[in-house]
Protein backbone atom coordinates (compact mmCIF):
# COMPACT_ATOMS: atom_id res chain seq x y z
CA UNK A 1 0.00 0.00 0.00
CA UNK A 2 2.81 2.34 0.88
CA UNK A 3 4.48 1.54 -2.42
CA UNK A 4 1.42 2.60 -4.36
CA UNK A 5 1.24 5.85 -2.48
CA UNK A 6 4.90 6.56 -3.10
CA UNK A 7 4.47 5.88 -6.81
CA UNK A 8 1.57 8.25 -7.08
CA UNK A 9 3.61 10.94 -5.37
CA UNK A 10 6.44 10.33 -7.82
CA UNK A 11 4.31 10.64 -10.92
CA UNK A 12 2.60 13.79 -9.75
CA UNK A 13 6.03 15.17 -9.01
CA UNK A 14 4.92 17.25 -6.07
CA UNK A 15 5.17 16.44 -2.36
CA UNK A 16 2.21 18.54 -1.40
CA UNK A 17 -0.26 16.67 -3.59
CA UNK A 18 -3.52 15.88 -1.92
CA UNK A 19 -3.47 12.33 -0.63
CA UNK A 20 0.29 12.25 -0.34
CA UNK A 21 1.46 11.00 3.03
CA UNK A 22 4.26 13.06 4.49
CA UNK A 23 7.08 11.29 6.24
CA UNK A 24 9.06 12.30 9.29
CA UNK A 25 11.79 10.98 11.55
CA UNK A 26 10.75 9.55 14.88
CA UNK A 27 12.87 8.29 17.76
CA UNK A 28 11.68 5.47 19.96
CA UNK A 29 13.26 5.12 23.38
CA UNK A 30 12.64 1.50 24.27
CA UNK A 31 13.23 -0.14 27.63
CA UNK A 32 15.07 -3.34 26.79
CA UNK A 33 15.54 -6.29 29.08
CA UNK A 34 17.11 -9.64 28.35
CA UNK A 35 17.80 -11.74 31.45
CA UNK A 36 20.08 -14.04 29.45
CA UNK A 37 22.47 -11.20 28.73
CA UNK A 38 22.15 -8.70 31.59
CA UNK A 39 20.25 -8.67 34.84
CA UNK A 40 19.33 -4.99 34.49
CA UNK A 41 17.03 -3.38 31.96
CA UNK A 42 18.39 -0.52 29.88
CA UNK A 43 17.06 2.16 27.53
CA UNK A 44 17.83 2.02 23.84
CA UNK A 45 17.03 4.57 21.16
CA UNK A 46 16.30 3.97 17.48
CA UNK A 47 15.31 6.53 14.89
CA UNK A 48 13.19 5.47 11.95
CA UNK A 49 11.31 7.14 9.13
CA UNK A 50 7.56 7.08 9.64
CA UNK A 51 4.47 8.36 7.88
CA UNK A 52 1.49 10.25 9.22
CA UNK A 53 -0.58 7.10 9.01
CA UNK A 54 1.90 4.98 11.01
CA UNK A 55 1.23 3.66 14.48
CA UNK A 56 3.72 2.93 17.23
CA UNK A 57 3.47 -0.72 16.17
CA UNK A 58 4.69 0.16 12.66
CA UNK A 59 7.72 1.90 14.10
CA UNK A 60 8.44 -1.13 16.31
CA UNK A 61 8.13 -3.39 13.25
CA UNK A 62 10.54 -1.22 11.33
CA UNK A 63 13.06 -1.44 14.15
CA UNK A 64 12.66 -5.19 14.50
CA UNK A 65 12.66 -5.95 10.79
CA UNK A 66 15.33 -3.52 9.65
CA UNK A 67 17.53 -2.47 12.56
CA UNK A 68 17.52 -4.90 15.45
CA UNK A 69 15.91 -8.31 15.12
CA UNK A 70 16.37 -9.05 18.81
CA UNK A 71 13.70 -6.53 19.87
CA UNK A 72 10.91 -8.60 21.40
CA UNK A 73 7.24 -7.67 21.68
CA UNK A 74 3.85 -9.32 21.24
CA UNK A 75 1.36 -8.57 18.53
CA UNK A 76 -1.06 -10.68 16.59
CA UNK A 77 -3.93 -8.91 14.86
CA UNK A 78 -2.33 -5.46 14.56
CA UNK A 79 -5.84 -4.00 14.51
CA UNK A 80 -6.92 -3.57 18.10
CA UNK A 81 -8.81 -6.85 18.39
CA UNK A 82 -6.57 -9.44 20.02
CA UNK A 83 -5.19 -7.45 22.94
CA UNK A 84 -1.60 -8.66 22.56
CA UNK A 85 0.30 -5.41 22.39
CA UNK A 86 -0.60 -3.38 25.45
CA UNK A 87 2.50 -1.42 26.45
CA UNK A 88 3.40 1.76 28.27
CA UNK A 89 3.86 4.43 25.61
CA UNK A 90 4.97 7.85 26.86
CA UNK A 91 4.08 6.78 30.39
CA UNK A 92 0.54 5.58 29.68
CA UNK A 93 -0.83 2.16 28.83
CA UNK A 94 -2.03 1.89 25.25
CA UNK A 95 -2.18 -0.62 22.40
CA UNK A 96 0.77 -0.01 20.08
CA UNK A 97 -1.47 -0.92 17.13
CA UNK A 98 -4.08 1.72 17.99
CA UNK A 99 -1.75 4.61 18.77
CA UNK A 100 -0.85 6.86 15.85
CA UNK A 101 2.63 8.33 16.10
CA UNK A 102 1.37 11.75 15.07
CA UNK A 103 -1.07 11.79 18.00
CA UNK A 104 1.63 11.50 20.66
CA UNK A 105 4.07 14.22 19.60
CA UNK A 106 6.74 12.46 17.50
CA UNK A 107 9.03 15.52 17.80
CA UNK A 108 10.32 14.19 21.09
CA UNK A 109 11.58 10.63 21.66
CA UNK A 110 8.65 8.33 22.40
CA UNK A 111 9.24 6.08 25.40
CA UNK A 112 8.06 2.49 25.14
CA UNK A 113 8.08 0.17 28.15
CA UNK A 114 6.49 -3.08 29.20
CA UNK A 115 3.27 -2.77 31.21
CA UNK A 116 3.76 -2.44 34.96
CA UNK A 117 3.05 -4.93 37.73
CA UNK A 118 3.55 -8.16 35.79
CA UNK A 119 6.95 -9.90 35.58
CA UNK A 120 8.89 -8.84 32.48
CA UNK A 121 10.16 -11.85 30.52
CA UNK A 122 11.99 -10.03 27.75
CA UNK A 123 11.86 -6.45 26.45
CA UNK A 124 8.16 -5.61 26.11
CA UNK A 125 6.85 -9.11 26.84
CA UNK A 126 5.43 -9.76 30.30
CA UNK A 127 4.20 -12.94 31.95
CA UNK A 128 0.41 -12.70 31.65
CA UNK A 129 -0.27 -15.77 33.76
CA UNK A 130 -1.15 -13.97 37.04
CA UNK A 131 -3.54 -11.80 35.01
CA UNK A 132 -5.30 -14.78 33.42
CA UNK A 133 -5.37 -16.65 36.73
CA UNK A 134 -7.52 -13.85 38.21
CA UNK A 135 -9.66 -13.92 35.08
CA UNK A 136 -10.31 -17.65 35.44
CA UNK A 137 -11.20 -17.26 39.10
CA UNK A 138 -14.27 -15.16 38.42
CA UNK A 139 -15.63 -17.99 36.22
CA UNK A 140 -15.95 -16.17 32.89
CA UNK A 141 -18.64 -18.44 31.46
CA UNK A 142 -22.42 -18.67 31.65
CA UNK A 143 -23.65 -20.48 34.75
CA UNK A 144 -27.18 -21.86 34.73
CA UNK A 145 -29.01 -24.61 36.55
CA UNK A 146 -32.06 -26.78 35.92
CA UNK A 147 -33.00 -28.69 32.82
CA UNK A 148 -31.25 -28.29 29.54
CA UNK A 149 -33.19 -25.59 27.69
CA UNK A 150 -35.37 -26.71 24.80
CA UNK A 151 -35.62 -23.28 23.21
CA UNK A 152 -33.65 -20.05 22.93
CA UNK A 153 -32.88 -18.14 26.06
CA UNK A 154 -34.45 -14.85 25.04
CA UNK A 155 -33.31 -11.55 26.52
CA UNK A 156 -34.87 -8.11 26.16
CA UNK A 157 -32.88 -5.30 24.58
CA UNK A 158 -32.83 -3.44 27.89
CA UNK A 159 -31.46 -6.50 29.70
CA UNK A 160 -28.80 -6.89 27.02
CA UNK A 161 -27.84 -3.23 27.26
CA UNK A 162 -27.31 -3.57 31.00
CA UNK A 163 -23.92 -5.22 30.51
CA UNK A 164 -23.11 -4.18 26.94
CA UNK A 165 -20.11 -2.07 27.92
CA UNK A 166 -18.26 -4.89 29.64
CA UNK A 167 -18.71 -7.35 26.75
CA UNK A 168 -16.17 -5.32 24.77
CA UNK A 169 -13.11 -6.41 26.77
CA UNK A 170 -10.22 -7.93 24.78
CA UNK A 171 -8.16 -8.92 27.85
CA UNK A 172 -5.20 -6.74 26.96
CA UNK A 173 -4.33 -6.00 30.62
CA UNK A 174 -3.90 -2.28 29.98
CA UNK A 175 -6.31 -1.56 32.83
CA UNK A 176 -4.96 -3.98 35.42
CA UNK A 177 -1.37 -2.92 34.79
CA UNK A 178 -2.28 0.78 35.09
CA UNK A 179 -3.66 0.29 38.61
CA UNK A 180 -1.52 1.61 41.51
CA UNK A 181 -3.16 -0.92 43.82
CA UNK A 182 -2.17 -3.78 41.51
CA UNK A 183 1.45 -2.52 41.26
CA UNK A 184 1.93 -2.83 45.01
CA UNK A 185 -0.35 -5.82 45.59
CA UNK A 186 -0.16 -8.37 42.80
CA UNK A 187 -2.78 -10.48 44.56
CA UNK A 188 -5.52 -7.93 43.80
CA UNK A 189 -7.94 -9.34 41.22
CA UNK A 190 -7.52 -6.20 39.14
CA UNK A 191 -9.95 -4.25 36.95
CA UNK A 192 -10.04 -6.71 34.02
CA UNK A 193 -11.23 -9.64 36.14
CA UNK A 194 -13.94 -7.45 37.69
CA UNK A 195 -15.02 -6.14 34.27
CA UNK A 196 -15.48 -9.71 33.08
CA UNK A 197 -17.34 -10.67 36.25
CA UNK A 198 -19.60 -7.65 35.68
CA UNK A 199 -20.35 -8.98 32.20
CA UNK A 200 -22.01 -12.07 33.77
CA UNK A 201 -23.28 -10.66 37.08
CA UNK A 202 -25.52 -8.22 35.19
CA UNK A 203 -26.55 -10.73 32.50
CA UNK A 204 -30.20 -11.66 33.13
CA UNK A 205 -29.59 -15.19 31.74
CA UNK A 206 -26.79 -15.97 34.19
CA UNK A 207 -27.41 -17.60 37.56
CA UNK A 208 -23.89 -17.56 38.96
CA UNK A 209 -24.04 -13.98 40.23
CA UNK A 210 -23.96 -14.92 43.90
CA UNK A 211 -20.92 -17.16 43.43
CA UNK A 212 -19.06 -14.49 41.51
CA UNK A 213 -19.89 -11.82 44.07
CA UNK A 214 -18.61 -14.16 46.75
CA UNK A 215 -15.29 -14.57 44.90
CA UNK A 216 -14.94 -10.80 44.56
CA UNK A 217 -15.97 -10.06 48.15
CA UNK A 218 -12.50 -11.29 49.06
CA UNK A 219 -9.87 -9.12 50.78
CA UNK A 220 -8.14 -8.93 47.39
CA UNK A 221 -11.42 -8.39 45.56
CA UNK A 222 -13.39 -5.28 44.59
CA UNK A 223 -12.88 -3.52 47.91
CA UNK A 224 -9.21 -2.95 47.06
CA UNK A 225 -10.29 -0.54 44.33
CA UNK A 226 -9.44 3.06 45.29
CA UNK A 227 -11.10 4.64 42.26
CA UNK A 228 -8.00 6.24 40.76
CA UNK A 229 -9.60 5.92 37.29
CA UNK A 230 -6.29 4.93 35.66
CA UNK A 231 -8.00 1.82 34.28
CA UNK A 232 -10.81 3.80 32.70
CA UNK A 233 -8.31 6.15 31.04
CA UNK A 234 -6.19 3.23 29.83
CA UNK A 235 -8.83 0.94 28.34
CA UNK A 236 -8.37 0.86 24.54
CA UNK A 237 -11.96 -0.30 24.12
CA UNK A 238 -13.32 2.72 25.96
CA UNK A 239 -14.96 0.59 28.63
CA UNK A 240 -15.99 2.60 31.71
CA UNK A 241 -13.97 0.27 33.90
CA UNK A 242 -14.24 2.11 37.21
CA UNK A 243 -17.98 2.51 36.73
CA UNK A 244 -18.30 -1.26 36.24
CA UNK A 245 -16.26 -1.92 39.38
CA UNK A 246 -18.45 0.48 41.37
CA UNK A 247 -21.56 -1.30 40.10
CA UNK A 248 -20.18 -4.61 41.32
CA UNK A 249 -19.42 -3.06 44.71
CA UNK A 250 -22.96 -1.71 44.97
CA UNK A 251 -24.45 -5.03 43.85
CA UNK A 252 -22.53 -6.66 46.67
CA UNK A 253 -24.17 -4.34 49.18
CA UNK A 254 -27.70 -4.32 47.74
CA UNK A 255 -27.89 -8.05 46.96
CA UNK A 256 -26.69 -8.92 50.46
CA UNK A 257 -29.99 -7.71 51.92
Amino acid sequence: MTAVLENSTDTSGSESQAGAVSSFQVTLKIRRYNPEVASEPYWEEHTVTAHGTDRVLDALHKIKWELDGSLTFRRSCAHGVCGSDAMRINGRNRLACKTLLKDINPDKPITVEAIKGLPVLKDLVVDMEPFFASYREIMPFLITSGNEPSRENIQSQADRDRFDDTTKCILCAACTSSCPVFWTDGQYFGPAAIVNAHRFIFDSRDQGGTQRLEVLNDKEGVWRCRTTFNCTEACPRGIEVTKAIQEVKRAMITRAF
Binding site: R31, E40, P41, Y42, W43, R88, N90, G91, R92, T111, E113, K116, S178, P180, R226, T227, T228, F229, N230, T232, E233, E240, T242, K243, Q246, E247, K249, R250
Partner: protein
Protein backbone atom coordinates in the same frame (compact mmCIF):
# COMPACT_ATOMS: atom_id res chain seq x y z
CA UNK B 1 14.49 10.37 34.53
CA UNK B 2 15.96 7.17 35.92
CA UNK B 3 17.37 4.83 33.29
CA UNK B 4 17.49 1.56 35.24
CA UNK B 5 16.03 -0.37 36.91
CA UNK B 6 13.03 1.89 37.52
CA UNK B 7 10.96 2.87 34.50
CA UNK B 8 9.22 6.17 33.94
CA UNK B 9 6.56 7.44 36.29
CA UNK B 10 3.10 6.33 35.21
CA UNK B 11 1.32 9.35 33.74
CA UNK B 12 -1.99 9.00 35.51
CA UNK B 13 -4.50 11.81 35.27
CA UNK B 14 -6.75 13.73 37.68
CA UNK B 15 -8.13 10.55 39.25
CA UNK B 16 -4.71 9.19 40.16
CA UNK B 17 -3.33 12.48 41.47
CA UNK B 18 -6.43 13.16 43.57
CA UNK B 19 -5.91 9.72 45.10
CA UNK B 20 -2.26 10.52 45.82
CA UNK B 21 -3.24 13.88 47.35
CA UNK B 22 -5.94 12.19 49.44
CA UNK B 23 -3.35 9.75 50.82
CA UNK B 24 -0.76 12.42 51.51
CA UNK B 25 -3.23 14.76 53.26
CA UNK B 26 -4.70 11.82 55.18
CA UNK B 27 -1.34 10.72 56.52
CA UNK B 28 -0.29 14.26 57.43
CA UNK B 29 -3.56 14.86 59.27
CA UNK B 30 -3.01 11.62 61.15
CA UNK B 31 0.45 12.72 62.31
CA UNK B 32 -0.88 16.11 63.31
CA UNK B 33 -3.59 14.45 65.42
CA UNK B 34 -0.98 12.24 67.07
CA UNK B 35 1.10 15.26 68.11
CA UNK B 36 -2.04 17.17 68.99
CA UNK B 37 -3.29 14.48 71.35
CA UNK B 38 0.13 14.37 73.00
CA UNK B 39 0.50 18.12 73.52
CA UNK B 40 -3.07 18.52 74.73
CA UNK B 41 -2.66 15.71 77.22
CA UNK B 42 0.29 17.67 78.69
CA UNK B 43 -2.26 19.92 80.39
CA UNK B 44 -2.99 17.05 82.75
CA UNK B 45 0.71 16.67 83.51
CA UNK B 46 1.20 20.30 84.36
CA UNK B 47 -0.32 23.54 83.00
CA UNK B 48 3.15 25.12 82.91
CA UNK B 49 4.53 22.40 80.64
CA UNK B 50 1.48 22.78 78.45
CA UNK B 51 1.90 26.53 78.21
CA UNK B 52 5.60 26.15 77.41
CA UNK B 53 4.92 23.74 74.55
CA UNK B 54 2.03 25.74 73.14
CA UNK B 55 4.24 28.85 73.39
CA UNK B 56 6.74 27.33 70.99
CA UNK B 57 3.94 27.07 68.42
CA UNK B 58 3.44 30.85 68.26
CA UNK B 59 5.98 31.35 65.47
CA UNK B 60 5.46 32.38 61.84
CA UNK B 61 6.72 29.00 60.62
CA UNK B 62 4.15 27.20 62.74
CA UNK B 63 1.55 29.68 61.50
CA UNK B 64 2.29 28.67 57.92
CA UNK B 65 2.18 25.04 59.00
CA UNK B 66 -1.28 25.64 60.43
CA UNK B 67 -2.39 27.15 57.12
CA UNK B 68 -1.12 24.03 55.37
CA UNK B 69 -2.91 21.85 57.88
CA UNK B 70 -6.21 23.61 57.32
CA UNK B 71 -5.76 23.28 53.53
CA UNK B 72 -5.05 19.55 53.94
CA UNK B 73 -8.13 19.02 56.11
CA UNK B 74 -10.39 20.99 53.78
CA UNK B 75 -9.17 19.08 50.72
CA UNK B 76 -9.45 15.75 52.49
CA UNK B 77 -12.97 16.53 53.65
CA UNK B 78 -14.34 17.72 50.30
CA UNK B 79 -12.55 15.01 48.33
CA UNK B 80 -13.92 12.45 50.78
CA UNK B 81 -17.41 13.57 49.81
CA UNK B 82 -16.41 13.23 46.15
CA UNK B 83 -15.23 9.67 46.76
CA UNK B 84 -18.47 8.85 48.60
CA UNK B 85 -20.41 10.12 45.56
CA UNK B 86 -18.25 8.04 43.21
CA UNK B 87 -19.06 5.06 45.43
CA UNK B 88 -22.78 5.50 45.95
CA UNK B 89 -24.14 7.70 43.17
CA UNK B 90 -24.72 5.73 39.97
CA UNK B 91 -23.41 8.57 37.79
CA UNK B 92 -20.54 9.39 40.15
CA UNK B 93 -17.86 7.65 38.10
CA UNK B 94 -18.81 9.69 35.03
CA UNK B 95 -18.55 13.01 36.83
CA UNK B 96 -15.46 12.29 38.92
CA UNK B 97 -13.32 14.83 37.05
CA UNK B 98 -15.91 17.60 37.26
CA UNK B 99 -16.35 16.82 40.93
CA UNK B 100 -12.60 17.13 41.48
CA UNK B 101 -12.64 20.62 39.99
CA UNK B 102 -15.55 21.46 42.29
CA UNK B 103 -13.53 20.15 45.25
CA UNK B 104 -10.56 22.33 44.25
CA UNK B 105 -12.89 25.31 43.75
CA UNK B 106 -14.36 24.86 47.21
CA UNK B 107 -10.85 24.53 48.61
CA UNK B 108 -9.84 27.85 47.06
CA UNK B 109 -12.99 29.58 48.33
CA UNK B 110 -12.56 28.23 51.85
CA UNK B 111 -8.91 29.17 51.97
CA UNK B 112 -9.70 32.64 50.61
CA UNK B 113 -11.98 33.13 53.59
CA UNK B 114 -9.58 31.69 56.11
CA UNK B 115 -6.09 32.76 55.04
CA UNK B 116 -6.36 36.58 55.33
CA UNK B 117 -7.63 36.42 58.91
CA UNK B 118 -5.20 33.72 59.85
CA UNK B 119 -2.16 35.39 58.34
CA UNK B 120 -3.11 38.68 60.00
CA UNK B 121 -3.09 36.85 63.31
CA UNK B 122 0.25 35.26 62.61
CA UNK B 123 2.13 38.19 61.11
CA UNK B 124 0.11 41.24 62.03
CA UNK B 125 0.74 43.11 65.29
CA UNK B 126 -1.95 41.94 67.67
Amino acid sequence: MPTAPAGTLYRGREGMWSWVAHRVTGVSIFFFLLVHVLDTSLVRVSPEAYNAVIGTYQTPIMGLGEAGLVAAIVFHAFNGLRIALVDFWSEGARYQRVMLWVVLGLLVVTMAGFLPRHLMNVFGAE
